[in-house]
Symmetry: C2
Subunit: 131 residues, 2 copies
């Protein structure tokens, strides 16, 4: 597909090949725009996401299709999918159906963290601080 | 670094090695939470971002350090940097200093698009629609 079609066209032509079969999918809470997690999507995961209406990824560590929530119950319901200019990144805008999106739990509450991005870099000390 | 330190610690230990030297950096407008772009960061790009206070990436196509805005003027000033649980993805929260974050221009206005994510998948037709 030429550059103009890729950037200005209406055909979905996600460039999975560019980085070994996967594109990163940014998962964003549709309610407040918070980024919940980032995971990887291949052709099958993309199609499964559309079919199920639930955020589905390819687990590059377990090497298998991964519909978030199938073991934990923390499904992420798809509201919107966006692609970027050169179609090598996606945004899944979701409504979380369970406790959170992260696999970690807060030591204080014992509950699943809502987002994987719970630490920021302190720009002075260069260390991480919990947000 | 063990899993507990990685997930619960305060040491920055970004896992660049996991995917060939780079991690994806989600660029988010601090004003409204809109995702503007996604690009890749290696150790040098991360350090340069901290040093300059401007979003810097590694261009995997040109194979060079890339401080966004150096040619276009569209710098992305760093307000906050977040990392995820297993430290293999970053969020750069930024204040755009120029016209936008995308390299494309809107055919209607002739202006640089503010975000690279200007199309969404129509969940019925599976085609792209401009947002």
């Amino acid at each position: 597909m030429d550059k103009k079609m890729l950037e200005e066209g209406s055909d979905v032509c996600i460039n999975f090949e560019k980085r070994g079969g996967f594109v990163p999918a940014i998962v964003q809470d549709v309610k407040d725009g918070r980024v919940l997690m980032l995971a990887y999507v291949n052709q099958l995961a993309y199609e499964t996401t559309l079919e199920k209406g639930m955020a589905t990824f390819w687990s590059t560590s377990r090497n298998e299709l991964w519909t978030k929530g199938e073991t934990s119950g923390d499904f992420l319901k798809i509201v919107e999918i966006l692609t970027d200019c050169d179609q090598d990144a996606l945004i899944y805008k979701v409504e979380p159906q369970g406790g959170g999106a992260c696999h970690t739990k807060s030591p204080e509450t014992g509950k699943t963290r809502e987002t994987c991005f719970y630490r920021k870099v302190d720009l002075e000390s260069k260390d991480l601080k919990f947000v």
